[in-house]
């Protein structure tokens, strides 16, 4: 099961960007080679122009692909993303991608349950577009503005369940609570759900717990600080179980063997950072 493709180094042209609520922005890039090869759950590694005193690229999930265009959905959190705010139509920037292994697309016997927190909704939107039929998406965030991509999912005919910590949209509380109740309400004998998730570590860890307890399969997209983004530097590693299954642990590179891992592969203690 290979959900990755060969990466390339491509000069992208910015087509534009627009704000999505207060903290997020959608960036549209013209980058045909990478757009053509991109799969849901994969990411790109951007060289942000003008960051003269910074040596690292910045990783972003692929949010959507439209022909030669690649869309990203990003939150402004620090130096790099702040500098990205200044990107305007016509600017050139270097993009590596598509990188890593994304979500599996070939598991037709189960209902896809997508769970996203904050910008974690972005790769799930791309996934929903590429999956055979609609499923259910669970979106969470601190407040309404952190619930993203809702329109995308609706457009695709997906059922959406929302939770916000401040109750400003959907249920008040955590998205895992909504998921729990949905799973509990499932009639016995209904086809098994399979989780595909992206979001903060806390969410992913909670989902791994749910998956284990309920005997579900969960595909989790991990977020780790990256150096090279290409399997070179070994900065992004997390602990996973040895594939031979005899109890040992090894390092896996989130940028290469991930970012998507099957939850049972992961060893949470060693990876928490």
């Amino acid at each position: 099961m290979e959900h990755g493709t060969t990466g390339r180094l491509e000069e992208a042209r910015v087509l534009g960007q627009d704000p999505v609520g207060e903290d997020y922005r959608r960036l549209v890039l013209h980058v045909p080679g990478i757009a053509a090869a991109a799969l849901p759950g994969q990411f790109v590694h951007l060289r942000v122009p003008g960051l003269d005193d910074r040596v690292l690229r910045r990783p972003f999930s692929i949010y959507r692909v439209k022909g030669d265009e690649l869309l990203l959905l990003y939150k402004t959190v620090g130096t790099g993303t702040r500098a990205m705010n200044a990107l305007k139509a016509g600017d050139a920037l270097s993009v590596m991608g598509p990188l890593g292994r994304g979500f599996p697309l070939d598991r037709p016997d189960s209902v896809p349950l997508l769970v996203g927190g904050g910008y974690g909704a972005a790769p799930l939107s791309f996934l929903a577009e590429r999956l055979a039929g609609p499923g259910v998406v669970f979106l969470g965030g601190r407040r309404a503005a952190d619930v993203l991509c809702l329109d995308d999912f609706k457009r695709l005919g997906w059922e959406a369940k929302i939770a916000t910590e401040d109750g400003s949209l959907g249920e008040k509380g955590l998205v895992t609570g909504v998921l729990d109740r949905w799973l509990d309400a499932r009639p016995a004998g209904a086809p098994a759900g399979e989780i595909y998730a992206c979001g903060p570590d806390g969410l992913l860890k909670a989902l791994a717990g749910r998956a284990k307890d309920r005997g579900l399969t969960a595909w989790l997209s991990m977020d780790r600080h990256m150096g090279c983004g290409a399997g070179v530097c070994l900065a992004c590693v997390i602990r996973v179980k040895r594939p031979d299954g005899n109890g040992g642990e090894i390092w896996a590179r989130v940028c290469k063997e991930g970012p998507v891992f099957e939850s049972r592969e992961l060893v949470w203690e060693g990876a928490a950072s």
């Binding site: 990466g7 005193d53 040596v55 690229r57 150096g227 290409a230 070179v232 530097c233 070994l234 950072s273």
Partner: protein, 307 residues
């Protein structure tokens, strides 16, 4: 005018251009081969390999700082057997010279890993890492004590007929002493610099950002330090020197060549742009043309000091 000659020699390794990639910043070869044509490199230096597989440090292992990054990967590697099985088949398909960076926790392990590679086909040279700041045993301990340095170089020299490059630590008071010791021990070439010991503290948590507490600083920040070290080392020894530390553009590489390096290596900048080494090689060529120099050798060590 005919094209300037970019060829350079490091020990018995002949490079078609003077720009290699630095150990630990280019993986084991295949990783960046998706993105650039690795055959255009002057040489390919792989990440440090030890006798047995090694887990390296816990995470976080890397943090960006203005002008560079601090890393404490801790030499994670699949060990000799894992390396031979997983990566050597790919590396053997290349015509570009392959240099293996080696390290050990003890004197014996340094000898063993050198001996193991003696039988390995397709390895043009060994780069002896006695300067990693990120492991408790071995590494920098060998590179900051002149007597230890001579012993480990001498021992490895006896085990290998390959071109032997000794990678020096910058973390010493007089680099010339160490350069001479390595030469006396039988090194064919020197490379410098490795990363400089450094630390970053997260002021929100008041914890060191790196799990290893300290790490090594690399990138543009260290370039003027590296140029000084190359200059001092080149005055002290006759063997060729590979200059590295903060190269992003041809200009920085040319500084190393003028200071006395016969070749250079691109490290951290590979993360910024995997094509850096190729761009730097092109830039050196353009410079030679502009300066009407017939070859890289006409540039090496030509720094004019005094009036």
């Amino acid at each position: 005018m005919s094209q300037p000659r970019l060829e350079t020699m490091i020990g018995r390794i002949s490079m078609k251009n003077p720009v290699m990639v630095a150990s630990g910043t280019f993986g084991y070869g295949p990783e960046y081969a998706e993105f650039i044509d690795v055959e255009q490199l002057g040489a390919l230096v792989v990440k440090g390999v030890s006798v047995e597989p090694w887990e390296g440090n816990r995470t976080p292992r890397m943090v960006e700082v203005p002008g560079g990054l601090v890393n404490a990967i801790g030499l994670q590697n699949p060990g000799f057997n894992g390396f031979m099985k997983t990566y050597m088949p790919f590396l053997r398909t290349l015509t570009v010279p392959v240099i293996v960076n080696i390290w050990g926790r003890t004197l014996e392990e340094y000898g063993q890993i050198a001996a193991l590679f003696e039988k390995a086909d397709g390895v043009a040279g060994l780069e002896l890492n006695v300067s990693c700041p990120n492991i408790k045993e071995g590494g920098i301990a060998f590179g900051t004590d002149p007597l230890m340095l001579e012993r480990v170089v001498d021992l490895v020299r006896k085990q290998t007929t390959r071109t032997l490059i000794v990678k020096l630590s910058p973390n010493v008071t007089r680099i010339a002493d160490f350069a001479r010791m390595a030469e006396a021990g039988g090194a064919d070439a020197l490379s410098l610099m490795n990363t400089y010991p450094a630390m970053v503290i997260d002021i929100e948590t008041r914890r060191p950002v790196l799990a290893n507490v300290t790490g090594g600083l690399s990138g543009p920040a260290i370039h003027p330090i590296a140029v000084k070290l190359v200059y001092e080392a080149a005055k002290a020894v006759k063997i060729p020197i590979i200059g590295m530390g903060g190269i992003r553009e041809a200009a920085e590489a040319i500084e190393f060549l003028i200071a006395g390096a016969r070749a250079v290596a691109v490290g951290t900048a590979n993360f910024t742009d995997p094509a850096t080494a190729l761009r730097v090689a092109d830039g050196i060529q353009a410079y030679l043309v502009r300066k009407k120099l017939a070859s890289v050798s006409e540039l090496v060590g030509t720094v004019k000091v005094g009036s």
